[in-house]
Symmetry: C2
């Protein structure tokens, strides 16, 4: 199989690239390196089955040219993942997550690529009050520009499948953790503790209940869905049956770091920022019925993430903090 | 009250402008005249409470400038309404219905306009199998680029309401008919009969069940919703409790025209084009509970539309046919 991975130099995309190469696939990664890191893909550069191309998905003609050459599937993972940045910069999701998906689909149409995997988000359920939230939950109300953009991505992909005989696998992710994790709550906590090992500031009051999935489980889930479901439009939640409050995440990080006497400074509300969904728990029954299940608990995923960041302290530097 | 109406020179927008002026509102219409007609607004040009401005909503800076001057609400009706054109020109909805809504919202934010009414669509329920379809139907699968764009519009408006203390009234319309109707199934049938009074070609097999609402009822419904509901986010279906198959629409038009011996040439399938929803029937209970109800039946709405087109044959000329 020959796959293009957009955002394939980033956290999830680079893990997916390694996984597919291991399975014997041919992989082309396109990435604008806004969040992707050379450290995540340079080990593949000598692999004859691997190609890397720096590409800005906002450039429609460049994407069409890049997708030429006979590919079976596009894994579209590239995105601005800064959910909470939307309300400060409300057009960034339009530029990075809306126009880009149209460019990807047009390039697929031009080059007759018929299959697409899309990384959507559990945030798409907005202010739902159904927990765990199934894929066919009531028509949601959006709370973030990020969610609205992903909603458009899903809808546009579905309409391309309807119009152009394409096939899609759409995954609504919870927060993902693990090796090469470069933004999010655990990342933020470790950055803070690196600066001051006695204090941890929370954006929220710590009560928000969230679900987190280990990146290895996420990738196995993506591939399981593609291999075991063959409808025109396949939509899956991808998370864990567990949830954890943000304060307990803090406790787990502090404990794993072997620290003590850390003072917590809590925010005023369960939501950490405008548009934050203070409760995310997805119903993952649909994908589980295909034989997939998460291998790590949330606690184990956090510990694995802390281990990786401790082993790769360079990853904590720079401006990669993107919020939980 | 001071209102801006985007697309206010078009079918629904110009009827809304007249209605609001009649109520004593101050109205500014912005329209790029791609589908709008001078005949629909020139009678208002001498009204001191009315302003018309030719404006392309794709020009973000021009929209910001245009929205200055203190306005209470924006009625955002401007849109590419050619649902079936999407699969031939799959980026037109991105340009005309996606980027424009972001520009409108940014211009509102810049000018501190806090209220927006948005014309969404019953097509947004995609391939639903729940009839009549309520506002909180299961998470829909989109079948058209038009539906995907409207879905984004709804989501982006909701996220602006969440982030910037704005308030919205979102209406999911069925097909609208009546005075100043310039595209759609009845329009198409009359154009055909004007050319050949003995033959009527159908895009579909005529069995598709659709719902149609008289434009006057549509506008009373919009205003009723705004006056009687005051949540941050207010979403209403706007249709009739009736449905009618497309063949019966043909019969009604032919009968109202006083014609006979018309041969029908039917298409092969219930759906008239790729992405067509062959069954649309919305649950309008929510708006009805606020005291609104349609005054005309579908048959009466069609007859009113035929009368208007007979009285205004100029409207049938030109390239205004946009499909049912």
């Amino acid at each position: 199989m020959r796959a293009i991975i957009t955002g394939g130099a980033g956290f999830i995309g680079s893990n997916l690239a390694d996984f597919l190469l291991e399975k014997g696939w041919t992989v082309k990664v396109v990435d604008n390196l806004s969040a992707g890191r050379k450290e995540f893909y340079e080990h593949n550069l000598k692999n004859p089955n691997y190609t890397f191309e720096k590409l800005d998905l906002k450039d429609a003609e460049a994407v069409k040219a890049s997708f030429a050459g006979g590919w079976d599937i596009v894994f579209h993972l590239a995105a601005n993942a800064d959910v909470k940045g939307g309300w400060k910069n409300p057009t960034i999701d339009l530029k990075e997550n809306v126009i880009t998906i149209s460019n990807v689909l047009e390039a697929m149409r031009e080059n007759k690529i018929k299959k697409i995997m899309f990384s959507s988000t559990g945030s798409i359920y907005g202010d739902t009050n159904v927990f765990p939230t199934p894929e066919d939950a009531p028509f949601p109300i959006q709370t973030s520009m990020y969610g609205a953009a992903k909603l458009y991505g899903e809808g546009l992909i579905q309409s391309y499948c309807e119009a152009y005989d394409m096939q899609c696998w759409i995954y609504r992710f919870v927060s993902i953790m693990g090796e090469r994790y470069t933004h999010g709550v655990v990342f933020n906590f470790l950055q803070q503790l690196a600066k001051d090992p006695k204090k941890l500031e929370f954006l929220s009051d710590g009560t928000a209940l969230k679900s987190y999935l280990y990146v290895g489980d996420c990738i196995r889930g993506i591939i399981q869905g593609i291999e075991k479901s063959n409808d025109k439009i396949n939509i899956f939640n991808l998370g864990t049956p567990e949830e954890m409050d943000v304060k307990t995440i803090g406790d787990t990080v502090v404990q794993k770091m072997g620290m003590s006497g850390v003072t917590y400074e809590l925010g005023p509300e369960p939501g950490g920022w405008i548009g934050d969904n203070p409760h995310i728990l997805l119903d993952i029954t649909k994908l589980q019925k295909l034989g997939w299940k998460p291998s790590l608990s949330i606690k184990e995923a956090i510990e694995r993430t802390v281990d990786w960041l401790k082993d790769n302290p360079w990853a904590l530097g720079g401006d990669y903090f993107r919020g939980p």
